[in-house]
Symmetry: C2
């Protein structure tokens, strides 16, 4: 199937695909519907396309039983995702069903009395939430007959795509800025796919990928976060599903979610609303709070100014996995924060580091900088009286501290002694 | 309770503790039994102590149902471990129930036709199998009233102890050589416990820890791999339990297990024998193969020479988590390899790196050097006709590649291009 930016009904109608309950692509702006295809922008208004589902045949209790009897990974929710029914039998990384940690020590430090949980997505196969979204894109790539899985990336996504393609037996070709840190290059290169350095910055990499998608050279290529984006993005719904099921099919009162492009936050909201509509959880209010780093806070800035539009920023923060200066879903995030009674807040790099250490010290969870952002924002919002400590609160950690060791490089030995009891005693360690 | 090296019956009889089915400590050499206590060497013969259980009340099918209804972590096996029945309600890292990956791509490369699986313990909370053993030591520490969790370490164990103690609300004090690489120091320090650098090498650190255990200054200290070792070591049994349950309550025909101290391999054998005795799996033969790095291969060397004793070596290998030159359980490993019809083999550092890349390229699993050792040994044993490719084989990966990035530092970009389609085409990537 040809790669293209904008679909016409005629193009995609010819190729019906089996992606389970996914019924069509629907424009988030104008509602125009087209058949499923590898496209991401509406032919009518150029708005973003998302998946429309047909869940009409589901009986609530039968669906609940089916989910609970499913595998301990995201495929327990296959009936709610754009994947074929037999997805669990295909080779993939089977991400998800990560721990929802009851964080009582952290709760005490922050003064939360209503129950505080950390959804710890560092437990995924390549140790970030990206495995969830790439797994959806992989199924779409298979359905559309793509043979190369691709993306532009500066970090987590590169490894997630490389690993998923390796296991699935697809070729992968990942584009990164040529001067990326050696450690990140190794993490992406070890899976053996093509890893191409682009002489330029991340914007140049992205621009080149868009060119490639429109060119015959890109024929048969699935860019997980471009022409497969509508499918890819749906993977974040599984965070909402898991949180609610792990709470005993209950909605939390408050969620604190990091914002990069904003896609994850919007899909968590979509997932929660679906669970309500399907009757799997009770219909009650919940608040979604967005978290950014001060050095890349376009959505937080717009929220505080009361704006509906998000003005791009040039990122400068240690939270590199959130450093998207022009977040595509920024306006939708603003809508959701305001509609649900949440907020958007940001923290400094220093506060991010403090929050990483706080989470590690209290719960033994070593988070990526993005996890420092959500924990730091949670603390700030409680201190400001915005987040209610008497309500059940879930904070997301979307990645692993081992990938951002530099952020806590100042951490070290608490003492150095000679190998003798005398030296031990005089250091005050007894 | 006082810390001591060798227990007397009188000392420990006074303090009955609830560690579930753990009935006593039993000497592996002379069989002498003493009550449970924080001791590790037999008062009669100075042999190593291990846990003796009372499983007599279990009905096979009831036990199976109880396990299957348990949590998705090691505590589903609480009835078979030295832990209280309510262990799952206490704050700990809940390790285990990691993925058993059906490795069909790797099987094709290696010519395995009988089914090849990778037990991927990089999915544990601190990304190594150490979380399993530390979780047992933590329960023993609680039972004996210890308030400080400690160990000597140069890597994985330091982080596992720091994280477990943080979550459990215990003090931790970890001893490491003072000149350890900065990255490893950060991974251990982030959990906020005491991290003490000892001016000396790893042997000096160990010698100091032994001194501390015998001194009043060590009162109330639980050294997970010294005075809590009998409990700690039992955690590796859960690898055997999970592998069999994940195979549908079936024994694999062959297992390839890394050897550091050799404890893990002996406990996997113990776990398999328990499952047979309990009737949870059929009684059939299985073979256990031990894997070492050539640069630290005391057990492999003894195996090949037909010796019963293991001659210490000075380690020199990139597989640092296996670099124990004088493995305490070496003789038991030799027994098990010979009794089960397995073998012990070693691979070079170059073969370790190749195997890490092979596993990543075929299955999307990025293993620590120890995983490179087991995959490399599996390949070598198949090529030598020692490991039967027609039998069901399970290979262990006990740690995460993110912790040993240096081993694959040579991996990098496959191409560098300018951000243009022309440059893309001339690089042959289309």
């Amino acid at each position: 199937m040809a790669v293209q930016t904008v679909a016409t009904t005629a193009d995609t109608a010819a190729s019906p695909v089996d992606l389970g309950p996914a019924a069509a692509l629907s424009c988030r702006e104008c509602g125009h519907r087209i058949p499923l295809g590898p496209v991401f922008a509406c032919e009518e208004c150029f708005g973003p396309l998302e998946i429309a589902y047909d869940y009409s045949s589901y009986d609530t209790e039968e669906l609940r039983r089916r989910i609970e009897a499913g595998p301990a990974n995201i495929w327990r929710y296959a009936p709610l995702l754009p994947v074929p029914a037999d997805v669990a039998e295909k080779p993939n990384l089977n991400p998800g069903w990560t721990k929802l940690v009851k964080a009582d020590n952290l709760a005490r430090e922050l003064g939360v009395t209503g129950g505080l949980y950390v959804k710890d997505d560092s437990g995924n196969p390549t140790h970030s939430f990206k495995d969830r979204v790439v797994a959806q894109a992989l199924e779409a790539a298979r359905a559309f007959g793509f043979t190369t899985l691709s993306c532009s990336s500066t970090g987590n996504l590169a490894g997630a795509v490389g690993a998923a393609a390796a296991r699935a037996g697809l070729r992968s070709c990942v584009f990164i800025p040529h001067d990326l840190e050696q450690g990140k290059v190794v993490m992406a290169a070890v899976y053996g796919g093509e890893l191409v350095g682009i002489e330029g910055n991340y914007d140049d990499v992205n621009r080149f990928c868009s060119e490639l998608i429109g060119d015959p050279a890109g024929e048969g290529w699935g860019f997980v976060n471009v022409n497969l984006r509508p499918y890819y993005a749906e993977g974040s719904k599984t965070l909402a599903y898991e949180i609610c099921e792990q709470l005993g099919w209950r909605l939390p009162d408050q969620l604190v979610v990091p914002i990069a492009s904003g896609s994850q936050l919007t899909k968590i909201d979509k997932g929660l609303r679906e669970l309500i509509e399907l009757g799997l959880v009770e219909d009650k209010p919940y608040k979604i709070f967005g978290a950014q780093a001060e050095g890349c806070s376009p959505v937080s800035t717009a929220y505080k100014a009361g704006h509906d539009v998000v003005r791009p920023q040039k990122p400068d923060t240690i939270a590199k996995s959130l450093a998207i200066g022009n977040p595509a879903d920024g306006p939708y995030v603003l809508d959701i924060a305001r509609r649900t009674g949440g907020a958007v807040e940001d923290v400094t790099d220093g506060q991010i580091v403090d929050a990483i250490k706080l989470l590690a010290r209290t719960e033994g969870i070593f988070a990526e900088t993005a996890g420092g952002v959500t924990v730091g924002v949670t603390r700030k919002l409680i201190e400001a009286g915005v987040l209610d400590p008497a309500l059940t609160t879930v904070v997301l950690n979307t990645g692993d501290g081992l990938k951002t060791l530099d952020a806590v490089a100042g951490t070290g030995l608490t003492a150095t002694i000679r190998p003798s009891l005398e030296s031990f005693r005089s250091a005050g360690l007894a």
